[in-house]
Symmetry: C2
Subunit: 365 residues, 2 copies
DNA sequence: AACAGATTTTGAAGCGCTTCATCTGGATCA
DNA sequence: TGATCCAGATGAAGCGCTTCAAAATCTGTT
């Protein structure tokens, strides 16, 4: 356990290392950062001194001198939604490959926090920022970019093209979900939940609508909700469960797994069979969907891939001088489980086959 | 949208602001940090200049000059376990109250990452670190403390007393869970899952054992598992489900909600009734437990409170020169739901009443 | 009008590191 | 042998900010 031989109370600095190693300050810096530029002899002396002093580089000083730091920041919307956890992991895995550390900030669906964390990363002069913005508010993006900060948007981009982004085709996801239900023979659909102001939700609804229109003899009702939590799903299910047989929806699609879980719960509590009476499909492929009342069909956006791609793009923007902005839109995939297929994974109609399905249990629990 | 009037490509510095405002560098600094020390006139001039330049302070330079930064780091074990999400939120709420920002790092149950994030926060000279260590490895703690970094351990402390910590009484949690099952009349318990090397799990098992011993006519079998995921629960349930009636456990307690969910799933798939045939209780009160196959009884550690208390202690350590190290151990609470009480929240035996129960749905989903 | 005391402002000295122009000491070659 | 190179090492100039002693300005008194 190497002793801390620095004088005074302060942590040992490179100057201390230099003194102890009997070389100049610059040599220590080189030894630490570009060892190939330094003779084996000096390298050894420096290493020994570092060890002996328990020297830890001061990253504030390094960032200041170098002009920018090497860590990357990720501002997350909601750490409690496993999609974002997946994004964080994807980003981290990719960052790690090239020696960058990833620091997270959770805005918890709060616009103020979101902006303030953006500023914190900006003030820290991070190498780059990954940002999953909430609806509205992209002003922070412009602000930090004006300071030269590189930023890649993930999951939402408010339609801007002047900035790198990795998105999910929300409209297509809604389309897939509705087509799946229709393919199962469902004709009275319900689009359950979601504040319609959210871009993603509007898109998913539009996609569902497109499938309905294509099918012809299908109707789709829409009951929005203020939030995306499961109790809202319960309320919605309660509101339709009492209807006479011919009026009940026979297929429910929800823009969030949580709402779908609430719907399923409430339906089952009222004695209805899922999926026999009503098939239900969620959205996001949250980790808990395998544990839900009955395992839940859902639309999966590959969060890990989104995070990894976004980080790759960001790193390119950082390192490649002739980087060009690009927007990558990933296609979501159906993940079919009991809430639409039933306990035996009943053979499903032809139509679904073509709709691009992912294996049923992609996310290891 | 204020134009960036700085010369060259670089971001405007305080020097630029000073020049534009027609005051000295020091005055700008004061205006920004202790406005009460500066005349109204200068304050206005500085503010205008800041606005006009779109000036953003460089936190690297600030940390360097001031000797330490104002942000606090939290190294999390597993961002995918909602207990840690709760801890992060509690910590963040508390930090925010006193103007500190919280940056997260997710070690993803990887010792190497854990250490490396500790170092990153150390190198960044953060004001303090909150750390939820995995089993073993506390060497990082000593390392960063040697550099003067303040650190508070959360959820696990490896028995050290020389360092602030906020813990949960794991033994008592196990005791509560087992006592609850015993109180329901269960006599053949099964402690299902968990690598026994984990301190928390060993403790919970010990607590359960204590309840069993106290009760007298109760047995408890232990089947460990390598990980804490739901498929391990499935395996364990499968392994006992085929036993003849008298040999089947009638109460299963698991050291993780995930395993418990797997257990419940598998039991139900094999036609067994939960809780009638087997009552099941988990641990952690993860957010998904309300959505599980049947809503799950569990032992709740109040993550939000743990995070908030830990942050409060850390802030005291940062600000209060005669801070004394303290270890705070919180008592976990029972959260009783269907997986032990049945669908109607069947009246429960007297014994549980005294055992300190939390309201049934404390965590809003 | 002159002065002590309080209030503001100033300027300079770092904080610990990177970087770059310079300098050194061999090795290489004619 | 002396001129030429070149890998390595050096030292100093910042990076943008905080802080503090010293200077300047403003109060209220006498």
């Amino acid at each position: 356990m190497t002793a801390n031989t620095a004088h005074g109370g302060r942590a040992p600095s490179m100057q201390d290392v230099a003194r102890l190693a009997g070389v100049s300050l610059g040599t220590v810096s080189h030894a630490l950062n570009k060892p190939e530029k330094v003779s084996e002899r000096s390298l050894q002396k420096v290493r020994t001194a570092v060890e002996q002093l328990g020297f830890v580089p001061n990253s504030a000083a390094r960032s200041l001198a170098a002009g920018s730091s090497t860590t990357v920041g990720l501002v997350l919307t909601d750490i409690d939604n496993s999609l974002f956890v997946d994004i964080a992991r994807g980003a981290e895995d990719e960052a790690r490959k090239s020696g960058h550390a990833l620091l997270l900030a959770n805005s918890d669906i709060d616009l103020g926090r979101q902006e303030s964390y953006l500023d914190i990363f900006d003030e820290a002069r991070v190498a780059g920022i990954l940002f999953t913005p909430m609806n509205a508010s992209l002003e922070g993006v412009d602000r930090v970019r004006r300071h030269g900060r590189r930023i890649v948007l993930v999951n939402y981009a408010g339609g801007r093209q002047d900035c790198c982004a990795v998105l999910s085709d929300e409209e297509y996801g809604g389309y897939l979900a509705a087509r799946h239900l229709i393919g199962l023979g469902r004709r009275r659909l319900l689009f359950a939940g979601g504040p319609e102001e959210f871009y993603a939700i509007k898109e998913r609804r539009n996609g569902a609508l497109r499938a309905v229109t294509e099918a012809g003899n299908v109707t789709m009702e829409v009951i929005p909700s203020r939030r995306l939590k499961s109790d809202e799903g319960r309320k919605i299910a309660a509101a339709v469960a009492d209807r006479p047989a011919g009026q009940m929806p026979d297929g429910i699609l929800s823009p969030s797994d949580r709402i779908a879980a609430g719907v399923i719960h409430e339906l089952m509590a009222r004695g209805l069979q899922v999926p026999d009476d009503v098939a239900v499909i969620g959205y996001d492929n949250n980790h808990f969907t395998t544990e839900a009342a009955i395992s839940m069909s859902t639309v999966s956006q590959d969060g890990h891939l989104m995070g990894a791609e976004a980080m790759a793009i960001l790193l390119d923007e950082i390192r490649n001088p002739d980087h060009e902005h690009r927007v990558l839109t990933l296609k979501p995939q159906l993940v079919l489980r009991e809430s639409t297929l039933g306990p035996n994974g009943r053979p499903r109609p032809e139509e679904d086959r073509r709709a691009g399905m992912a294996p049923a249990n992609p996310a290891p629990l």
